[in-house]
């Protein structure tokens, strides 16, 4: 078995090769992704630049140490990754977990993001890290490939459907370990409206059109929305000048705006997004809920919506503080998490090594 350092070195080199500016395959994949309207160029660019930073060798080593990685621990085991496609390369961490543990990758790629991930797989193949990998955007094509574990991110509602499908396609049986992650929104607690905070908040809310589970859907602040509405919308407009909103909301959002106005809810209508001073369980992508409050309100919201909540972000000395059972993450890292971040609070490598 290859030793720890060499394995990380090889993975890191493959990633480095993949991220080279002259990587024709990646460039072509980006072009196709953008040209076919799947994601905007600024979103893909942001994602690639973030990965360049987070996937450095020392970060991979750190993740490996934190998770207790044993290279080759999943040798001979097939891991099915069901990748979502709400933002570019959203499933990359699962792919890396499989490669780092030496498992065999079976991938159901998203039809909304089918080109980018295969270029990384190609790079891993060049480094003999994924010789038996098999992937498709069509789950049916993976039929009969018995998985030893399943990694999934999606809605609670789809879990039953997914399990039934995996069973009928003979990919997984009821005993196959599966990591079903269903969190879909995050909260930010800010205590001031300084430019740095507002810029970070804007990025945390509006990056990738607000579609990620790490995207902020609820803001708790010590001031009402109306007192920062103008300033905040200035930041949002500046952000959209550089990163135009790619997905457009359904018409029902305008009906919601009309309804809010009729019942007197404080709100900011941004044509493709709605900010309202009101808190509900976040389900729609294009709504940001605002609440005037402090730590107590944050904790109440966490308790109320814990099921579905991914992360809580803060600034300054609150970073690292425990809020209910969550540790506050830096607001600035909402859209550029470290590679060792734990979706739904679970380290994927650790889980794979324990369960498979």
């Amino acid at each position: 078995m290859e030793n720890f350092e060499n394995h990380i070195e090889r993975v890191s080199s493959a990633i480095e090769q993949w991220l080279q500016p002259d990587n024709y395959f990646l460039k072509e994949a980006i072009d196709r992704t953008v040209n076919e309207g799947m994601f905007s160029f600024p979103d893909v660019k942001h994602r690639i630049l973030t990965l360049k930073e987070t996937l450095r060798k020392e970060n991979l080593e750190r993740w490996a140490r934190i998770s207790g990685l044993r290279p080759g621990s999943l040798s001979g085991k097939q891991v099915l990754c069901l990748h979502a496609g709400n933002l570019p390369l959203v499933g990359i961490q699962d792919l890396l977990a499989v490669v780092l543990t030496g498992g065999t990758y079976l991938g159901k790629l998203s039809k909304k993001d089918p080109y980018l991930l295969p270029t990384l797989i190609r790079s891993f193949k060049n480094y003999q890290l994924m010789n038996d990998a098999y992937w498709s955007t069509n789950l049916e094509k993976l039929a009969g490939n018995k998985a030893d574990a399943v990694l999934f991110a999606g809605s609670k509602k789809s879990v039953i459907k997914v399990n039934e499908k995996l069973h009928s396609l003979k990919i997984a049986d009821p005993d196959t370990p599966r990591l079903m992650r269903t969190a879909h929104f995050s909260i930010a607690y800010i205590r001031d409206n300084k430019p740095e905070t507002m810029e970070q908040l804007t990025d945390a809310v509006f990056r990738y059109g607000g579609a990620g589970c790490r995207s902020v859907a609820i803001v708790v602040a010590p001031f009402h929305l109306h007192s920062v509405k103008c300033t905040f919308t200035d930041y949002v407009e500046a952000f959209w000048l550089k990163n135009p909103q790619h997905q457009k909301p359904p018409e029902s959002l305008f009906h919601r705006f009309a309804f809010n106005k009729a019942i007197g809810v404080e709100q900011a209508w941004l044509n493709v997004f709605l900010i309202e001073e009101n808190v509900e369980r976040p389900t729609d992508t294009f709504i940001l809920y605002w609440m005037k409050g402090g730590l107590e309100e944050v904790e109440n919201i966490i308790k109320k919506y814990r099921d579905g909540l991914q992360s809580v972000y803060a600034t300054g000395d609150l970073i690292g503080e425990k809020m209910v059972d969550l540790i506050a993450e830096p607001l600035s890292e909402a859209q550029k998490p470290p590679i060792w971040w734990k979706p739904d609070g679970i380290d994927t490598i650790e889980w794979l090594q324990k369960q498979v």
């Binding site: 069901l82 979502a84 496609g85 709400n86 959203v90 159901k108 998203s110 039809k111 909304k112 955007t137 789950l139 999934f152 991110a153 999606g154 809605s155 509602k157 789809s158 459907k161 997914v162 499908k165 992650r181 269903t182 969190a183 879909h184 929104f185 607000g210 579609a211 990620g212 589970c213 995207s215 859907a217 359904p250 018409e251 029902s252 305008f254 009906h255 919601r256 705006f257 009309a258 309804f259 106005k261 009729a262 019942i263 007197g264 976040p282 389900t283 729609d284 992508t285 991914q310």
Partner: protein, 309 residues
């Protein structure tokens, strides 16, 4: 109606205004935006200058916000109840017995008010609530039979299921059932057709003798589905199925969406309502209630996976 409510109802006035509609706008009824039903949970929905004579509240479980419907003119509710109920169940043919245990704890229930009204106005004095004492029930049954009327058992779905299970009282096989579909007392989930089969078996009657009522505290009109699951409307009600992503758009027959209702009986509150119920319409314009609407466009990784698997 549009002009009156757009002018006199401040909530609707503002709501319509966002869509560029003023009280004097010339508008086709199908173009009138429907107010989401949760408005009744948020604030009083009543035309200016009127005082409520009655307030109906939805039942709602603990922690749930309750809808509140202020009624300025209870006579409209009375007329609406009588006209549509008797159209389907004429007073000279049916004796009504109401079994609404889950609702009786809610003194503001519009359903209880309706049942009580039907009891009060029965010319033969036979309409009643199901007594606790079986002997009283049998005496009542005898009176009904002497009068040559059919029994119409009216109740919330799960109360009726319990009644069938208890077998404390026996209904004749000519009994017809009118279920309201309320699932207020239990958490058991059941489709309409399963419910109909179970009731049919439990009461020993044919499925064709089971009817449904669709109503809610926010509406002063009721819809009925006779011997099946397809509801028809009174002539003063228009039901449409709306696209959940764009409630201004109608769904085609067979396509599921949110149930939209224009109820002219809601004269002094709001006649233009978008419910949170999931429904489908057939080519004839009858509609079926499929349950509650659940959001599909979930944030996060969810919706794409939902669509793809």
């Amino acid at each position: 109606m549009f002009q009156y409510q757009a002018e006199k109802n401040p909530v609707l006035n503002t709501f319509f205004e966002v869509f560029g509609l003023r009280p004097d706008s010339k508008v086709n009824p199908d173009e009138i935006p429907l107010l989401p039903i949760r408005a009744f949970k948020e604030m009083p929905i009543l035309c200016e200058g009127l005082k409520p004579e009655l307030v109906f509240k939805s039942s709602g479980t603990s922690g749930m916000e309750r809808s509140s419907h202020q009624i300025a003119d209870p006579n409209i509710y009375k007329i609406s109840i009588e006209k549509e109920f008797y159209r389907h169940f004429p007073a000279n043919q049916y004796a009504l017995i109401c079994h609404l245990p889950g609702y009786r704890q809610n003194p503001d229930s519009s359903l209880i008010w309706m049942a009580q009204h039907l009891v009060n106005i029965d010319p033969d004095g036979l309409n009643t609530f199901l007594p606790d004492d079986p002997d009283e029930f049998y005496k009542w049954k005898e009176r009904v039979q002497k009068k040559g009327k059919k029994i119409l058992l009216f109740g919330a779905a799960f109360g009726l299921l319990d009644l069938a299970e208890d077998q404390q009282v026996e209904f004749p096989e000519t009994t017809e059932i009118l279920e309201t579909g309320g699932m207020k007392t239990h958490h058991r989930e059941m489709t309409k057709s399963e419910l109909r089969d179970t009731l049919s078996e439990g009461f020993g009657i044919k499925p064709g003798q089971i009817h449904s009522e669709y109503g809610m505290c926010e509406l002063l009109s009721q819809m009925y589905a006779l011997s099946g699951e397809w509801f028809t409307t009174p002539h003063w009600v228009r039901v449409t199925i709306r696209n959940s992503d764009n409630p201004s758009k109608f769904c085609n027959p067979g396509e599921e969406g949110k149930i939209g209702i224009i109820d002219l009986a809601n004269l002094h509150s709001c006649s233009f309502i978008l419910t949170e119920d999931r429904g489908v319409m057939n080519e004839k314009g009858d509609f079926k209630v499929l349950g509650r609407w659940h959001p599909e466009n979930l944030r996060g990784c969810n919706f794409l996976v939902d669509q793809e698997i």
